[in-house]
């Protein structure tokens, strides 16, 4: 047993420094040299101010914007630091709802959301992603169906025609990778920036 102590200490120290310090620091250095934008979080800036990250969803509630999916993230309660309150798209505390399929809390939440959405756009089945929380609570995307569902409200608010809004959505829809992998999706931040750029 004792004859293993020296190799154990040397290997543990040597390999820990190599894999735990030299490797991540080398990757950091190379990454910041060749992919600086991605390495810093793929940030979107406007006039020098950081608006967010293209990869991280943010909350939109104005009726002239596309809304993201519901988010289950929480933040500290301003009234009581020991408690947490709902804080959608808190990008420093990623979290899913972790509600099971038979949870009453899940069904009640979805029922409320469906009622609100159907009032806004009656007669059309509500796309599933628009009433379910994502795994990270930070999903930057919605499905094309979820974007399409919101087009009438946005056109109405902004005084644009529905085909104009649909064209903006189409221009910001990312298809499946190589036409096969993943799902096609609309980045909410990108499409909302495009809406503002289109005026009105």
């Amino acid at each position: 047993m004792l004859n293993h102590i020296r190799p154990a200490l040397v290997m543990l120290t040597g390999l820990t420094l190599l894999t735990g310090l030299a490797y991540p620091l080398a990757i950091t250095g190379i990454a910041e040299a060749i992919f600086p934008w991605q390495a810093q979080g793929s940030l979107v800036e406007k006039g020098g101010a950081v608006l967010g990250s293209t990869l991280i969803g943010q909350n939109f509630s104005g009726s002239g914007y596309f809304h993201p999916r519901p988010s289950a993230t929480t933040g500290p309660d301003p009234k009581d630091a020991g408690k947490t309150v709902a804080a959608p798209y808190a990008a420093d505390n990623s979290m899913g709802s972790n509600l099971g399929p038979t949870a009453k809390a899940l069904v009640d939440r979805v029922k409320d959301d469906i009622t609100k959405l159907q009032a806004e756009n009656p007669g059309i089945p509500v796309p599933g992603d628009l009433v379910t929380t994502s795994a990270s609570g930070l999903d930057p995307d919605i499905s094309p169906a979820a974007a399409d569902f919101q087009v009438p409200r946005i056109a109405r608010t902004r005084g644009l025609s529905q085909p104009d809004v649909r064209a903006i959505v189409a221009a910001h829809t990312t298809p499946r990778w190589l036409g096969v992998f993943g799902e096609s999706r609309v980045n909410v931040l990108a499409v909302n920036l495009a809406l503002d750029a289109a005026g009105k």
């Binding site: 040597g14 950091t28 979080g41 099971g100 399929p101 949870a103 796309p127 379910t132 995307d141």
Partner: protein, 569 residues
């Protein structure tokens, strides 16, 4: 289920199969100590480590010497990681000012990363300093994975050798696997991930002002370097709380597929290394085939289950087209989520790109069953292969009983000692998994912590101990497990799940290495054909089924009946 979804699954299976032979050959050359293409670049480091450590790589160890070296190394690793986690507030590289971990959380986390489980009782971005993530967790991700592969190589040497007293040198295996396998694939993998959008920076976070004027703090860090080893080493411990579902860990379908391939690559390749080392590659392909069939069965059920919407929500007027999207990300959809979840639970990885707790009962059951079967469907790097070989021993033993012959496997007589050690390893797992689950659901304190009522709550507790015992690390993440009871009992479960399989496997290897080889005769049961594949799958399913069916009936099966009847909790 769609044709497109099946194409995605088929392409990934084909890529893993195509990588098996080249990677398997490379791993064999690493195991044999040969000169490699990377030796000119890294050989000085290898020789330097041996010199300072006083190790002669050519001097091999008995199974006991190998096991003791591994255990001393693990004990040192535990002490180091525990110390880093407890002291992170006073150590450098803590830009977010994280406080120290509590004693039970540091114990749980240190065991978790030491045993390649990567169960996370904590949320990464809200708990860990950058130093803890790098020097603590990333380093142990490498070392626990290298240990798993090293032990697998030693076990295979036991099968391959005749009348031998030794099964390899732990220090040489550990060093060579780290330097020549894990480090190079991770350097390439991490840079590809950064290219696709995974951050790699020493900044803690950046503050944004959103388009609607709200403040958003976006956590950052050295994510890509940890992400790469998390996958290749089947560790599964994420930088962020929500693991590979977080867009910074897994930004798109390409990274998702690379992660899936990385999880299976080394586990699949080791079956080929095994075949080459016993001088009959067909033996490796038989194991690969059995694993692949079990994988396909799992992914089919999971994909089918999640492709349907939750019946309790469809009746409210939700469009069923997208499937069960609660706890899933739009960019992955159902097919990539089902694939990832099957692979991560088959392979003892435990990374998640969707929240398993929100799966429909049958989908969640697939994840649970994959782990219950012993993490041998490709399995953790190394541990999947030696775990599978234990079931292969039981299979040839059963076949021997049926025809009344002394069982043989690869020319080695399987005798009482090997069978007893095999059963010890196989039975220790359900003992801790089911024993602690029973304790947790009857003790008022821990039972009160379970977040859900009804059968789902039972599954939450069961999944935690099964995941810990299987060294998987995924969770029904609603369980608030960061309490002294859960942290301690889960820590013990992880230790048993790792070392009570590893050490018997090494002991079996030692016993087999010492044996002579029996020439194959007409009475020898061939272990490279479909009959063997069928028999070993049967053994795996019967042992798993007999052990866990009652618990499954109380959990996911009861919940499935409840959801069909429209019962909510």
């Amino acid at each position: 289920m769609t044709v497109n979804g099946w194409v995605q699954i088929a392409v990934l299976a084909a890529i893993v199969a195509a990588l098996t032979r080249p990677l398997g050959g490379y791993l064999m050359r690493v195991a044999s100590g040969e000169r490699l293409v990377l030796t000119p670049a890294l050989g000085w480091l290898e020789r330097g480590l041996y010199r300072v450590a006083g190790v002669d790589p050519a001097q091999e160890q008995s199974w006991l010497g190998y096991a003791l070296a591994m255990l001393v190394f693990k004990a040192g690793g535990f002490a180091l990681l525990y110390a880093i986690l407890r002291l992170q507030s006073v150590l450098p590289l803590n830009p977010a000012g994280q406080g120290p971990l509590s004693a039970d959380l540091a114990f749980n986390t240190a065991i978790s990363f030491l045993t390649n489980t990567n169960w996370q009782s904590y949320g990464g971005e809200t708990t860990m300093s950058h130093l803890s993530q790098m020097l603590g967790l990333t380093a142990q991700n490498f070392l626990s994975a290298a240990t798993g592969i090293a032990v697998a190589l030693a076990v295979v040497r036991g099968f391959a050798r005749r009348s031998a007293a030794t099964i390899g040198n732990f220090w040489a295996d550990l060093t060579r696997i780290t330097l020549y396998v894990l480090l190079p694939v991770c350097v390439v993998g991490a840079l590809v991930l950064v290219w696709q959008g995974v951050p790699q920076t020493l900044l803690a976070s950046v503050d944004a002002t959103t388009m609607e004027g709200a403040k958003q703090t976006i956590s950052l860090g050295p994510v890509a370097s940890q992400e790469a080893i998390k996958m290749f080493g089947t560790n599964g411990g994420g930088f962020f709380n929500t693991n590979s579902a977080h867009p910074f860990e897994n930004p798109n379908a390409l990274t998702n597929m690379l992660q899936i391939i990385a999880i299976f690559a080394l586990g699949g390749a080791l079956t080929n290394t095994f075949g080459r080392m016993v001088r009959d590659e067909r033996q490796g392909w038989a194991i690969f085939g059995a694993m692949a069939l079990l994988f396909m069965a799992g992914v089919t059920v999971l994909y089918w289950s999640e492709g349907h919407g939750n019946p309790a929500l469809l009746s409210l007027g939700m469009d069923p087209t997208l499937g069960n999207m609660e706890g899933k990300e739009v960019r992955f959809g159902i097919a990539q989520s089902a694939l990832f979840s099957t692979v991560t639970t088959d392979a003892s990885c435990g990374a998640v790109n969707a929240m398993i707790e929100s799966f429909l009962p049958l989908g969640g059951r697939v994840a649970l069953v994959n782990i219950m079967l012993g993490e041998i469907i490709f399995g953790g790097v190394g541990s999947g292969l030696y775990g599978f070989l234990l079931f292969a021993i039981v299979a040839v033993f059963v076949a021997g009983l049926m025809v009344g012959r002394t069982p043989e496997y690869l020319g080695k007589k399987i005798e009482a000692r090997e069978v007893k050690l095999t059963m010890l390893a196989i039975l220790c797992l359900p003992l801790v998994m089911l024993g602690f689950t029973a304790l947790a659901v009857v003790l008022p304190g821990p039972a009160g912590a379970i977040s859900t009522a009804g059968p789902h709550g039972f599954t939450e507790a069961l999944y935690a101990y099964v995941s810990a015992g299987g060294n998987n690390g995924s969770a029904f993440a609603g369980l608030p497990a960061n309490t002294p009871f859960w942290n301690t009992t889960l820590g013990i479960t992880m230790i048993v799940g790792r070392f009570f399989v590893m050490i018997p496997a090494l002991a079996i290897a030692g016993a087999l290495a010492a044996k002579k080889s029996v020439p194959a005769s007409s009475g020898t049961f061939p272990t490279h054909g479909p009959l063997f594949v069928g028999l070993v799958i049967g053994v795996i399913l019967i042992i798993g089924g007999l052990t866990f069916f009652p618990a499954l009936a109380l959990g996911p099966i009861a919940e499935h009946l409840a959801i069909t009847a429209g019962t909510l909790y």
